[in-house]
Symmetry: C2
């Protein structure tokens, strides 16, 4: 199953219930793909049908951002500390047995 | 075609050519998936076969990072400025006709 909960429809409904008159759907992706171009807009359109007085926007995916360099840098530094034995296995790698130095 | 150039094998070879004795392969993904678990490690292993004196690591994907909140926030603010007519269409949305307020 690919979809996490709450669904877009559920989240949309909850926002309206709490008084929202404009809803921002912000897909958490690095770059555009099928989910952003088609699936999410059509789920959002479907969800909005039940709330005709509510406007919504589907934002662009994250795209390039200068802070991504800092995030990448932290990621690489952490993994190098881990393979050197100076840091615990991180949540992403835990249990996969993937995170070590290959030679 | 899903793969951009240079290929992992080409990039690996170029790093070695320029004197690298350790190579960091850092997959640019938000979270773990098949490309990270299988495809990229196996392409890296394949590439390393030709360079037996070179060690390499495949890092974890980016994962959660507190700066992601700033990136998401900037993305949402930009899209809202765009739909309000105060900012140009961004590179991600350009030509898709997707970026407007639906009601």
């Amino acid at each position: 199953k690919e979809l996490a909960e709450p669904t877009i429809k559920e989240a949309f409904g909850k926002c309206v219930q709490q008084g929202a008159s404009r809803i921002i759907v912000s897909p958490y992706f690095l770059s555009p793909g099928r989910h952003w171009k088609q699936d999410i807009p059509s789920l959002a359109a479907e969800a909005s049908k039940e709330h005709s007085n509510v406007a919504y926007i589907v934002t662009a995916p994250l795209g390039l951002h200068e802070l991504m360099v800092d995030i990448m840098n932290d990621r690489i530094k952490y993994c190098l500390r881990h393979v050197a034995g100076d840091a615990d296995e991180c949540a992403v790698c835990a249990g996969t047995g993937k995170c070590h130095l290959y030679s």
